[in-house]
């Protein structure tokens, strides 16, 4: 926890605090009911309500429903004050209580989790601390602990999101970093020219993206997130697009058309040595590394329509992977390496997000909205986010990989697009 906070200290020091409420439009059939009691605090009003943030986090996962404080019959601060019947009456299965204290400018949040059904404490009192600016980090940390304790899956509430926000008249592009609930947006880059395709480095410290800032032509850049130091990685004639980090962080796969046609290349990040991977007169684009780093998935229209292909980097052997639909593009590999998530269209329908089991080839449609694109998978593999349109604006939507949860973030000022979900930070 300390490590994360120090890594993001600089980041959040200058962040705006836009209120960006996330609402769940559809939950799982039978979410776990948890009561998160407002934390005890003796001082003046805090800039962040930890219990509220924790409740929102857990609901964001789609697997929980948080009891509203207005319905609560008591507000226990310690185990002695817990009366299980109060919580049974509300249908709560779990109960989280806590309190905040302040000492020498630092805040300390202690919390305990109870199993209402079994009437026992799940974990003894834990404490997390931070500065006033880190109250949200502390809340997300508590959410992670509670989520993992109950579901057995690692929580993603302390991870981050990078996305592109585009404005019209005048045209302006911003590369933004925020919490995954959209709070604490911080600008990483602003340009009058197109910015697209952000991807996190596997260690979560850098981002690669495409920017048209030089001469209104595309080039690939790498930016250190904490220091904002940048390196221009490519400056080739034609297309410079779709960077993708290798799992070991040492290489970038990309699409270049410097030899006349969009082809897949792999660049060594340190030496910038370039290896050509594909050689076909069709479009070869959007490379994405397999989890083991031994092959790349990419989009090609060599069969007449865009489909996903896989190339083995040792043998350069290539084979087609998708067959369901007349449009499959921009694949991302799930953290366990077993599924592809991509943009899919079947004849006569619009574009949706789909997941395909790599081994069996079975494909499932995950999104029901229109003009869906740019899926990104949470590092725990349990959720994904994508870009869609709502009310004429570009917005982000989230869905659980079991296709039961739909969450939309309401529009910000500009069109929000191309979400990139960070890896875990430790």
């Amino acid at each position: 926890m300390r490590y994360i906070i120090s890594a993001f200290l600089l980041v959040f020091a200058i962040s705006a605090n836009a209120q960006n409420i996330v609402f769940v439009t559809k939950g799982v059939d039978n979410p776990t009911k948890i009561a998160v009691v407002p934390f005890g605090w003796a001082g003046a009003r805090l800039p962040g309500d930890i219990a509220k943030i924790v409740g929102n986090d857990l609901e964001f996962s789609g697997q929980f429903e948080a009891t509203k404080p207005e319905r609560m019959l008591s507000f226990p601060r310690s185990e002695a004050e817990v009366h299980y019947r109060d919580w049974k009456a509300l249908g709560a299965e779990y109960l989280l209580i806590g309190s905040i204290t302040q000492q020498a400018g630092r805040y300390y949040a202690s919390y305990e989790l109870f199993d209402v059904v079994q009437q026992k404490r799940v974990f003894a009192k834990l404490t997390v601390d931070g500065t006033e600016a880190q109250l949200r980090d502390m809340a997300h940390h508590i959410s992670d602990k509670v989520y993992e304790t109950i579901t057995g899956i690692r929580g993603i509430f302390s991870t981050k999101l990078i996305y592109v926000e585009a404005f019209k008249q005048p045209q302006k592009y911003r590369l933004m970093l925020s919490d995954i609930d959209g709070f604490r947006p911080r600008m990483l880059l602003e340009s009058r020219y197109p910015v697209l395709s952000p991807v996190w480095s596997p260690n979560g410290q850098r981002v690669a993206y495409v920017s048209f800032e030089a001469d209104n032509k595309p080039a690939i850049y790498i930016q250190d997130i904490a220091t904002s130091r940048r390196q221009q990685m490519t400056n080739f004639r034609g297309l410079n697009g779709a960077p993708s980090w290798s799992p070991d962080g040492q290489k970038l796969a990309m699409a270049l058309s410097k030899d006349g046609n969009p082809e897949i290349y792999v660049m060594n990040v340190l030496t910038r040595q370039l290896t050509r991977v594909t050689n076909h007169f069709a479009i070869d684009h959007e490379p994405s590394w397999a989890a083991d780093g031994a092959s790349l998935f990419f989009t090609s229209d060599r069969g007449g329509k865009p489909q996903i292909y896989q190339v083995n980097l040792a043998t350069m052997q290539q084979e087609r992977v998708t067959f369901d639909g007349d449009y499959n593009a921009r694949a991302r590999v799930s953290p366990d390496g077993k599924s592809l998530v991509m943009l899919n269209k079947r004849p006569g329908t619009t574009h949706h997000i789909a997941a395909q089991d790599i081994k069996s080839g079975n494909l499932r449609i995950l999104s029901e909205t229109n003009l869906d694109e740019s899926p990104t998978i949470a590092p725990n593999g349990a959720m994904l986010m994508y870009a869609t349109r709502s009310g004429g604006k570009g917005v982000l939507a989230a869905v659980s990989l079991d296709a039961r949860v739909k969450i939309l973030q309401p529009p910000k000022q500009g069109d929000v697009r191309e979400p990139a979900w960070s890896p875990f930070f430790n």
Binding site: L196, N261, T299, A329, E373
Partner: protein, 154 residues
Amino acid sequence: MITKAIKQGLTLAVVMSFLVGCSSSDNKGTEAPTTGTAPVESTVSEATLSNVVYFDFDQYSLTAESRAVLLAHADKLKGASVAVRLEGHADERGSREYNMALGEKRANAVRDFLVTQGVNGSSLEVVSFGEEQPAATGSDEASWSQNRRVEVKY
């Protein structure tokens, strides 16, 4: 859609009459003749010559209409030492990066056609903006058809 069809029809009619003065009542599938006579009213033609050619969904092959428009540009560019930027675009549907490639393929198709007509390839610069700079902002076929385009920029 209708507006665009009329616009293209008019552009085509102008280009065709400017080339050989042929009867332009049937413009479906008509290959514009490559051996045109010298233009009679070049100022008028240049003023009305379209700088945009359009493409079908997910396609980067030139339509007959596009070839007719580009022939007129080739005539203007042949032997001239003017630099031209060919900007390729796509509609908003589908993957953002894939649309970058689609825009480039479209601009390349225009460049290749101009080169086969005798234009010096080194004076032609190709760049794709994918779906980033739509000409029309609606989310319907009327807008999409105007956004799948290559702009010839002098």
